[in-house]
Symmetry: D2
């Protein structure tokens, strides 16, 4: 956990563990181990040497990332001292470490591996939140409530339709994020991206490398074509937008004067004992607010200069880590909020009276169909 | 053209015309006309009335958008006075105008129509730029050049591989943007998004509406689930990142001390007659730099409050317009730059000498394969 | 007006006129005219020639900016064809046009002039909004109302204290913006920023140039040190944040279920006749939402490469123009909203009952002092 | 250190220690201790009780922030469990803990205290970088070099003028940051910002509180008027822009084909032994690239809803921490780069030949004056 004072509050405990320094070190070592195995599979190095490299990687993965961190300063990235440590550890098989690769290959592939692994808690939380909307939509399918446009009472909808709308958003976000995760690809190109050092086995090494790591073989080098990173970031950003919408809807519906929902475990106050703050939704929103700026950072970092970005590349690491954490945390807190959400149908009915008083037709038309459509879509 | 002093320089002439006030007014009128036709197709209004509405829309589309602009202030969006104008114009068929719809339905669908239409100049320019990389990659397939990482000479690559890498990025951007364009969908939900006013014909009206406009039937209401808008924006943002990378590569390779490329029509200077500024690339980059902030704005605007965003919704209009213009303009200027790019193979050879002098192996391995792979991929 | 369909709605009519293509052309001509006068004042050119240049500038300022826009493409900025047009217009005094200057000097100074002039409508609107809070704070100084934290009823405050808080924010924003405006400085350095062409009169020419234009003499060249631009942009961004807070407070207090305020001219709906949308506040918020992304763009553009930014510089023009418009428009719409804001003290009292019911102490302590402190601060 | 694998590389070691969880816990405890002392100074609590609270704060400050982090979830911020811990620790003096304050008072003031303390390493690094430019400007005052505009050779300047320009930017940034730091103010308002609980001693308590903490007494409550936070963030953002400009200038001048500067300790490569990467400048730039997005986040978070932001407030904590780290790290790495920068005057002279060959006048005019002006300005 990188920020022990803050991570639980912002729901970042699990996603934090998937993206912290030990997780990155593990990913870097997994990449070097897999590279050796892949080179051995095409005969570029001996199988026994590859096995020694794998063992060395397992050993170094347990070391203190702080040591590597200090040694990373001189060369400008942690792969340079990592390779040195692996060669020392591998002894006579040291020559089989990092064959043909450049630092960027290892760091880019490790960052995709970190992203892939961090998707597990993110997707789990999004799914948990989406499942909660199913329960809400089903339970309140026909509860007529005031629709509010520009925060003014407008025409009726149903709580079921509102919850179904939340769920459609979350399901879509999960679908897009799963697709983006499936697109996470290894990067392997060598120093200038020409696959020179494995020639003519480059594509074969890359294919084996990808298969072994459970990432996609991109078919191209992308050391300076950063669309993949930016697209993945954008998917996380959109996920946060979906979360922020639902979280703030909950905050709005939980207002004392509206009172249509309440969290199961509302927060108290250091000064006001009577308060029932929808704190899970509030912190979900706080996490989601981080996303637009972080997505912008990853777009800003796209234009990698010539054959390796001079700072643009390095700028991706903290931004991508931060974005994964913000998204995973926001999703986690939204799941907390939705999971125990209490719906006050009496309050809903009371608020609807104003609308009736204004002479608005309370026909809710297609609203139940919207719920049924949402529920049916989930069982397909 | 909305900014006559600036639009040609930033390549925004065509995309500007597709997104300016008359273009928006046309789109709004097209949407109202199509809505009438769609309602008639399900029997909700008479066919003759629909025809009268279509005629009224054609008439109003030719009016001065400034009038509608002034009238839009009172109600908060231009659809309210537009509907009034159409009803007046349609005479006895006025009752058939805007049936069942709310302002947001019309504005959201019109914004998707504007985006769809603006994609034409954007995609044309991206394709033109990509085609130019094909010529460059083919012509210089085997021209060995210095690869530069962190802007330092590293190991060799070829100009063909560099151009192929540019082309892969542009082709990917075009593919993603075409896919995003194909996903642009109508929005139709009525005031609270329940399809109430067309009940039980809502889904049928929406399907006809989408088919007629050449947009997708989303199958759901998305009045407050803005993923679609944000995803489209992100695709434009990634396109700009791809453009910025290539544009700045050109600027870097065109430096006097590097001298490996030059634009066909380099810009002069108000003070320095000897200068050969790669001004098309420079302005392409300037346009692309606008994108991260604009994408952030559209992510910030995602959390639409309850059943209609109170300002978050309205914030999309200028940001989406601005992003389309920035992307279309940047793509246009990049096509200008790449289209006439001159490659100085003598300079490339000269710069390579330093690398040879450093004892670097000049084997370029897989580089020609990268070009062939790129060219083959385009003919599939 | 650059976007006739949208500008009135977003309150951008006045600020749009101060930042559109004719306004930029006027500023460019004013800068060239002043440069000639300043050069004449130090004897670098003849006074009669300077007068001819001034006359030429007045003439060219009336030309169609679209012509200059088209001619700007070749050289990469509008100053190059502007200088040609001025030289032609000035006839034998043509040699006195643009003496010693480079395009960037003229464009940077013109952009500061545009910013300076656009500050007038921005500051007027902010002041009008702030004045409206004074009336509100004074009129409702002692109206006890529910304070709401995390959108939950908390402890009491007064409407006066709330309005005073809004006013403190606006007054601070106005103060900061006036200071930022006073800091807007000419840029004059010549092609590489060394003042070479006026040597040894550079500092004297710059001082006269600044005095004549009503801008600050920066004492340094800042062609590639863009802090001034970014700081000014940040001040606009913070102003938008202040506006967005107040605008959304109004939207929240105007909710049907809260009902504590209403706009004087609430907007209707194309579908719902009973609605009273606080549309001025809504569109103020929509404008303000544009700011964070635009400020980010101007920060992204800061790192001008070596002696002139290759695209980073050009990227400032649309972003700064957009930010001025967003801020001026948002301020204008907030002034509209606050200027006619109706406060429903009965609703305020009714909402307070819940708090009283929760046993909260209704002592409002220092609240009236906050109002008095605000009012006193304004008369100082 | 929160990210041991990355912090040294990005220069964040010192600023990380000033902003990590223990540093926040220390600041929170310092604020509670000072509040007690301030309340005692106006007689609101007994001096002996205040002393007991101070002792309790010292004790709790040494506890594991992870415990508080877990307990923070329920109430939505760490102050609620902190107050409980302090009351338990203070025993019979527990009643004197957190008198009159709300969580936001303590968190806002603590965040200003964290910012104030983190400014020390940030300002030290900026000053060290600026001092290095003085040495460079003085040593190379009259070294004529090619000025480059749009990355094309333009007209001459001097290395001294370039270094002086860098130094002017850094000095300005330091000046602005010192001013922003001096403006960091306590927040004290009580639950709804009315100072109710200390009435009529509120202003006196606040004045004592500020004096004791070394922060400014703002004279107003700013719980929902977040200009102060955003302005401070913007100052950090502009500082990063200044850093990014200089860092990338170094990268550009260090290109093999330009070769005018080199870092003292250039980085090697995991694949290319001959490389001399200006890695300190590269990582400085990488850090600075984080800033625009983070500044945007803090602007996005400005509109705090009514009397406390529902997530907007909470969103400030990670963003401000991240921005302080990015700025401090970037400044640290830039100081590393500039501190050992080697200037190759032979290369500078060689590159100048091209310009001479183009017939450009090599008069450098005011360039030496620019250096002298910069140096003189620093001794004032």
């Amino acid at each position: 956990m990188s920020e022990p004072l803050w991570d639980p509050l912002f729901g970042r405990t699990a996603v934090g563990a998937a993206t912290d320094s030990p997780a990155w070190l593990q990913a870097l070592c997994d990449v070097e181990a897999t590279l050796a195995v892949s080179c051995a599979s095409t005969g570029l190095i001996a199988v026994a040497d590859a096995e020694a490299v794998v063992a060395a990687c397992a050993k170094v993965a347990e070391s203190d990332p702080a040591d590597l961190g200090v040694q990373a300063v001189a060369g400008g990235n942690p792969v340079i001292p990592l390779v040195a440590a692996l060669r020392e550890q591998a002894g006579s098989a040291g020559v089989a470490v990092h064959v043909g690769a450049t630092s960027q290959d290892v760091l880019d592939t490790a960052s995709m591996l970190v992203a892939d692994r961090a998707c597990v808690p993110v997707l789990d939380a999004v799914a948990e939140a989406a499942d909660a909307t199913v329960s809400l939509a089903r339970a309140h399918r026909d509860v007529v409530m005031t629709g509010r446009t520009l925060l003014q009472q407008a025409v009726p909808t149903t709580f079921g339709a509102v919850a179904a709308g939340w769920g459609e958003g979350l399901d879509r976000a999960a679908r897009e994020l799963r697709a983006a995760r499936a697109g996470l690809a290894v990067q392997l190109g060598g120093a200038a991206g020409t696959l020179a050092s494995w020639h003519p086995h480059g594509p074969a090494v890359r294919a084996a490398f990808a298969a072994e790591l459970g990432l996609r073989d991109p078919g191209v080098v992308w050391h300076t074509e950063r669309s993949r990173v930016a697209e993945f970031a954008a998917t996380l950003g959109v996920t946060c937008g979906v979360i922020a919408k639902i979280a703030f809807d909950i905050v709005l519906l939980a207002q004392a004067e509206v009172g249509e929902v309440a969290e199961a475990d509302p927060g108290g106050s250091s000064a006001m004992a009577h308060k029932h703050n929808p704190i899970a939704a509030v912190t979900a929103r706080a996490g989601a607010i981080q996303a637009p700026g972080l997505v912008a950072t990853l777009l800003i970092a796209m234009p990698a200069e010539l054959q390796r970005g001079a700072g643009t590349w390095h700028a991706e690491w903290p931004a991508l880590t931060g974005l994964l954490r913000a998204t995973g945390g926001a999703a986690r807190r939204l799941a907390d909020s939705l999971g125990g959400l209490r719906v006050d149908t009496a309050a809903i009915a009371r608020n609807l009276e104003c609308l009736a008083g204004a002479g608005v037709d309370l026909d809710i038309g297609h609203a139940a169909d919207l719920v049924d459509h949402f529920l049916a879509g989930r069982t397909r």
